[in-house]
């Protein structure tokens, strides 16, 4: 009976090769001896040693992590408060769409809109403007994730907590947040990864003095590719693979609580 699925099986195998061949090539070339990033010469770990002393890569990496951490914290706070509010007021479709729209708006449109706005209010471009911009679309993702769960929570538990004399703060931290935990973790992982990877919006809203990692990678690709990009690509691959797998594990654990 499985004969009829043969063609789709062949395509599926091709797709897996298609998805993994390019990144495998990058990983392979990261162990290359040659100083040409594209041509294989022999095995070596040299570029793994030199990358740590590459100042532009290291300082831009720190900036990227900084932006991603601040963006994640802000998006979680803003996204969660919006979700709690919308849930309490039984908000209709408009406010829900409004709060999640930045996730759907093409990044280029949002990017030049923000660039224009920062220029109109005379805010000079820096990491602050990148953080604001990233928080806009990450908030939308947090709202989407948290709203999906918050509707499932039984409001009578919160009411009982209040009736029994718990303060609003205590109810929030002891009742609401623990119940939202899986979606908060998902929202945090999403925000962090999206911010770390984001290029187009950061490209338009960042100042020239504080390039983040994607900007450095972009100019490395455009102007003279150095072998370090293969190493960097491999390290980023490992980070995101570990991140995705960790997120899945944490998600499972959090779901079971």
């Amino acid at each position: 009976m499985h004969k009829r699925f043969n063609l789709s099986a062949v395509v599926a195998v091709f797709v897996i090769i298609f998805l993994y061949l390019p990144i495998t090539a990058v990983v392979g070339l990261s162990f290359n001896q040659s100083s040409n990033s594209l041509i294989w010469k022999g095995f070596s770990l040299d570029w793994y040693k030199t990358i740590w002393s590459n100042e532009p890569i290291m300082s831009s990496f720190q900036r990227t992590i900084f932006v991603a951490v601040v963006t994640t914290v802000l998006s979680l706070i803003i996204g969660t408060t919006i979700s709690i509010g919308l849930n309490k007021m039984k908000a209709g479709g408009f406010l829900r769409t409004f709060s999640t729209a930045p996730a759907i708006v093409p990044d280029l449109v949002l990017a030049i809109g923000l660039l224009t706005t920062f220029s109109v209010i005379s805010m000079s471009l820096s990491l602050t403007t990148v953080i604001i911009s990233h928080t806009v679309f990450c908030t939308a993702f947090v709202v989407a994730v948290v709203l999906a769960r918050i509707g499932l929570i039984d409001p009578s538990i919160e009411e009982a907590s209040t009736d029994l004399g718990a303060s609003a703060m205590k109810t929030l931290f002891k009742i609401t947040i623990p119940q939202l935990m899986p979606s908060l973790i998902a929202g945090a992982v999403l925000s962090f990864t999206l911010s770390m990877d984001e290029f187009v919006i950061a490209f338009f809203t960042n100042g020239p003095e504080t390039p983040t990692l994607p900007m450095v990678i972009y100019s490395m690709i455009r102007f003279g590719v150095t072998p370090e990009i293969n190493v960097l690509g491999t390290l980023l691959l490992v980070i995101s693979f570990v991140g995705v797998i960790l997120a899945q594990r944490i998600g499972k654990v959090a779901d079971s609580i």
Partner: protein, 288 residues
Amino acid sequence: MVKSGGSKTSRHLGWAWASPGLIFLTLFAAIPVLSMLFMSVLTAGRFGGVTTPINFDNFSRATDPIFVKVIINSLLIASATAILSLLIGFPTALFISRLSRKWQVILIVAIILPYWTNFLVRTYAWLVLLNNEGIINKFLRNIGLIDKPIEMLYTPAAVIVGMTYLYLPLMILPIYAALEKVDKNLTEAAFDLGSSAWKSLRTISIPLAMPGILIGFIFVFVPSLGNFVVPELLGGGKTVMIGNLVRDQFLKARDWPFGATFALILALILVVLISIQSYVSKRVNVNA
């Protein structure tokens, strides 16, 4: 039952919670996007920035054959990307949806995993594969198929393949999600009743997957149409798309209103497309 959520205090409390965030989104999402779209009717200032006369000059400038060609070119490349993704994404999703639960999870994770890698690195990977000394050319030379390298990089085809690579998971996932809900007994029954593989595909799987196909098409088409990085890196600047026009008008020519005009055109194309998608998927749902 008392509808506690609808009470007045609860609504006030809800607004108190939500308004700081909603104000933030108004200031840094709604106003920027709307003002950017409005900017298309303004005129570029002498030293960057914008000034008044409000007119539609930018739109008549945009109808210049050079720009029309770029817009058509962008539509063709984005369509080709979405169609190629559909052609290889649909069979893959179909295949995965028919595996055991455990293998479904493994393969879906395998398909998402590369998507979480930095998109510049994934684009760069194709430079590695497609360049004249790259793996594909070397392989073809070693098996004696060619003796001179094929120029694959810096062509529209490289742009299409690169973007398909970037966005393919966004095609596979919604189709898989739609197919996964399909009752397997349905296709089994069709088969038992003598229906050919092609017929059961055409009459059962494709119609049921249609909502997923439409969403996948949008998910791939939208980021492809506005992309300026892939045309630049894999197209070598020879393939110009709307995104490149917007970028150049903003950062090189410093004609923001003209750049905003192209962004508006981009946004309008997407709005039309999404309206078609929701119209078609409603009709499909009614028929199904």
